[in-house]
């Protein structure tokens, strides 16, 4: 639908100003961290925003130098744990959301609101009991020991977003396909899956970010580089001496862990574009 309403130059200017302000507000910390990561240790306290001289020293430290043993396993843990947690969450929540959106069964609203209730449950209150439990049954400091709590974070939000997405799919298309001669499975594969894919991708990305950003479980349920994820590992960084703040290397590590996130968003932004379903049925 093309916008037929003409906007006055004043409103247009105000929109641009607002846009610039919000962009600055959101990007300023990122640029700051980038600038910090490019300062050499002696340059950190130079009392200016930009580094006096570009230095790759911090990146060198975390990727190839002294902090390598701390950072690289953590990066591997983070990627592995988050991908598995995301995959499981997406598969389970797709099934759950499909059932909630399509079928009529007693207690389906209970399931839906239960999952909403879980999202507001404070993580800090579960961490201590979970620590004791995990230590007893041997899940402490393992990948599985993090994947399970991550699922409790990612599943509810995935179920919610996917349910609302599935409710938007015109299921009459499935019937149309069956009348056109498709089997139930063909109708699902050729019609429903292509329509559901953007919603599933969006949900997967949200779930991945949630798991990727977690700090509390990561720091509490791990002790070694066997399972410690990046956010937790960052807190163990030390400077060259114990009197030196490791701000530069933390900043560099932050930049490194931000890169996969940006790549994922850029890769899937086409899938995230909503409105693919418009035009299926008369709007």
């Amino acid at each position: 639908m093309a916008a037929t309403r003409t906007t006055s130059p004043l409103t247009k200017t105000l929109w641009i100003v607002a846009f610039v302000l919000i962009a600055l507000w959101a990007l300023f910390p990122v640029v700051w961290i980038l600038s910090l990561s490019l300062k050499s240790p002696s340059d950190i306290a130079n009392r200016q925003f930009w580094p006096t001289e570009l230095s790759w020293e911090n990146y060198d430290l975390i990727l190839f130098g002294g902090a390598q043993e701390l950072f690289l396993p953590a990066l591997r843990n983070s990627i592995g744990i988050c991908l598995i947690a995301t995959l499981v969450a997406v598969v389970l929540s797709t099934l759950a959301a499909y059932a909630i959106a399509r079928l009529d069964f007693p207690g389906k609203n209970v399931v839906l609101y239960m999952s909403l209730a879980i999202t507001v449950f404070p993580v800090i209150s579960i961490v201590t009991p979970l620590f004791n439990l995990w230590s007893t049954i041997g899940l402490y400091d393992t990948w599985l020991g993090l994947i399970i709590p991550y699922l409790s974070l990612t599943l509810p939000i995935s179920i919610w977003t996917l349910t609302s997405f599935f409710k938007e799919i015109p299921w009459e298309l499935e019937q149309a396909a069956q009348v056109d001669g498709a089997t139930a499975f063909q109708a699902f594969r050729k019609v429903i899956v292509p329509l559901a894919a953007p919603g599933v991708f969006t949900t997967a990305i949200i779930a991945f970010f949630i798991a990727w950003n977690d700090f509390l479980y990561g720091i509490s349920l791990t002790s070694t580089s066997a399972a410690r994820p990046v956010p937790a590992a960052l807190s163990f960084f030390t400077g060259a001496s114990q009197f030196e703040e490791p701000a530069g290397s933390i900043a560099a590590a932050s930049i490194v862990v931000t890169i996969p996130v940006i790549i994922i968003v850029l890769l899937f932004q086409r899938q995230i574009v909503s409105g693919l379903t418009s035009g299926a049925v008369k709007g």
Binding site: A176, Q178, D180, G181, K282
Partner: protein, 462 residues
């Protein structure tokens, strides 16, 4: 090409409510049958039972003599156009139309798919849109894509579920003619669901009128119009709808109405021997004529009533005059019930007369209206039955329209066989089945459409 037979079909939902109750229909090969009724009449449910999207609780559904109750939709080989088109948004127009063919790769190799899609696209004038996605099409184009998907393979029958209800009035008229032309050209058995009586009358060879899941009458449009079986069918068919007047039975076919007394001709009064005293008389708006425009000797051949005009509406080709009257409580009750059945909104009791535009009648005038008492139908207020229905005449009407249909169908098929090429849809008025599709010309559509809207505006205007 197929015959479809419904034998005592019943659809009952979980709560035991029968959405469709004991419906029996026989749809001949090549016939265009309309299922019509107000909302909640079960017409869409019947269609969905035929296509297999709705389970049949009881009764038999036969396609070409074979019972298909338990067959999946894909095994019934029917094609359907959905009310909201149900186009696949991720596929182009070409792929949407080709979709049914792609599911059967063995029967339709790639060049056959292309030939068929191109033929359907040409027929529906979609040629230049084939690479676009449904989201970028207008409502009418989407509608044509949905039709293309239905006609692209040789299905046994076409099913339409209110295909035009999402289009605006002008487009609806055009597409209606288009569907009629397509069906005549292809000669495929067609079942069409609508709530619009104009579509039902103009498109159908036969029309099945449903009310609350029960079949009221299954007949040609002409018979429905001239010999309805009951007050519901009489009120549903025709636009503006039939006027219902409370009348008192004075015996011998003499009826006393709020506007004066008149006498039915003997052959019409035959069924009224045991009629109760209070009756409802039905008279179509177009049965009235302005007595001032007629010669005196013409007036002798009919009845003349006198009434005061409340509102007039001038439409160019005719004038609608509204004449209010008071109804007795008993009659009012059955009129109210009828109004509810017809999805009405509690119209005031009034008579609508469609008069010649030369008539000088204006608001507040007292007008003398002429009508032929032979056009009057009389209904029992308790049962709603039409007491003046003439079975012989009804059978005669249906026989004639059936003959006309067969002639048109044969002509279409012989032309297809001889020319080997289907007539393009843009070929104008001339063509196969002209006698039949001639009924669907724009004039009829416009008049009835206007009638509907103007009646509505008067009732809400005060």
């Amino acid at each position: 090409m197929a015959e479809i037979e419904l034998r005592n079909l019943v659809k009952r939902y979980g709560d035991g409510f029968p959405a469709v109750n004991d419906v029996s229909l026989r749809i001949e090969d090549g016939e265009f049958v309309i299922l019509v009724g107000p909302s909640g009449s079960g017409k869409s449910t019947v269609l969905r039972m035929i296509v297999g999207l709705e389970d049949i609780t009881d009764g038999d559904l036969l396609i070409d003599g074979e019972r298909v109750n338990d067959k999946a939709p894909r095994d019934r080989d029917l094609s359907m156009v959905f009310q909201n088109y149900a186009l696949y948004p991720h596929l182009t127009v070409y792929e949407n139309i080709a979709f049914p063919l792609r599911l059967d790769k063995t029967s339709y190799p790639e060049d056959e798919v292309k030939a068929r899609v191109d033929r359907a696209a040409t027929m529906l004038e979609l040629g230049e849109h084939l690479e676009r996605k449904p989201a970028n099409l207008s409502g009418g184009q989407r509608q044509r894509v949905a039709m293309g998907r239905a006609i692209v393979r040789d299905a046994k029958a076409f099913l339409f579920d209110e295909p035009l209800s999402n289009l605006d009035a002008k487009l609806r008229g055009q597409m209606r003619t288009e569907i009629a032309r397509m069906q005549r050209n292809l000669g495929v058995t067609t079942v069409y669901v609508t709530h619009d009586q104009t579509e039902a009358m103009t498109l159908g060879d036969k029309v099945a009128v449903l009310k609350r899941g029960a079949l009221q009458q299954y007949a040609s449009p002409q018979e429905l119009y001239r010999e309805p079986v009951n007050i519901f069918v009489a009120g549903f068919i025709g636009s503006p709808s039939m006027n219902f007047l409370p009348v008192t039975n004075r015996g011998n076919g003499e009826l006393e109405s709020p506007f004066g007394t008149f006498r039915l001709p003997e052959e019409r009064a035959r069924g009224m021997a045991e009629a109760p005293e209070l009756l409802i008389a039905g008279l179509r708006p177009e049965a009235f004529q302005d007595a001032d425009l007629l010669e005196e000797d013409e007036l002798d051949r009919g009845a003349v009533i006198t009434a005061e005009v409340d509102v007039t509406e001038w439409l160019g080709n005719e004038i609608y005059a509204y004449l209010p009257f008071e109804a007795t409580p008993e009659v009012q009750e059955s009129l109210d019930e009828l109004d509810r059945d017809l999805d009405g909104e509690g119209m005031r009791t009034q008579v609508v007369a469609a008069l010649d535009p030369q008539s000088r009648v204006r608001e507040g005038d007292t007008v003398r209206l002429f009508f032929d008492p032979a056009d009057v139908m009389v209904f029992d207020p308790a049962t709603g039955d039409n007491l003046t229905r003439d079975e012989e005449r009804a059978a005669e009407i249906t026989r004639k329209s059936e003959e006309a249909r067969r002639r048109a169908l044969e002509r279409a098929r012989s032309e297809q066989g001889a020319g080997g090429q289907k007539r393009g849809s843009g070929n104008g008025a001339a063509g196969a089945g002209q006698s039949a599709s001639g009924r669907t010309d724009a004039g009829t559509g416009d008049r009835t459409a206007d009638g509907g809207s103007t009646t509505g505006s008067t009732s809400t205007g005060r």
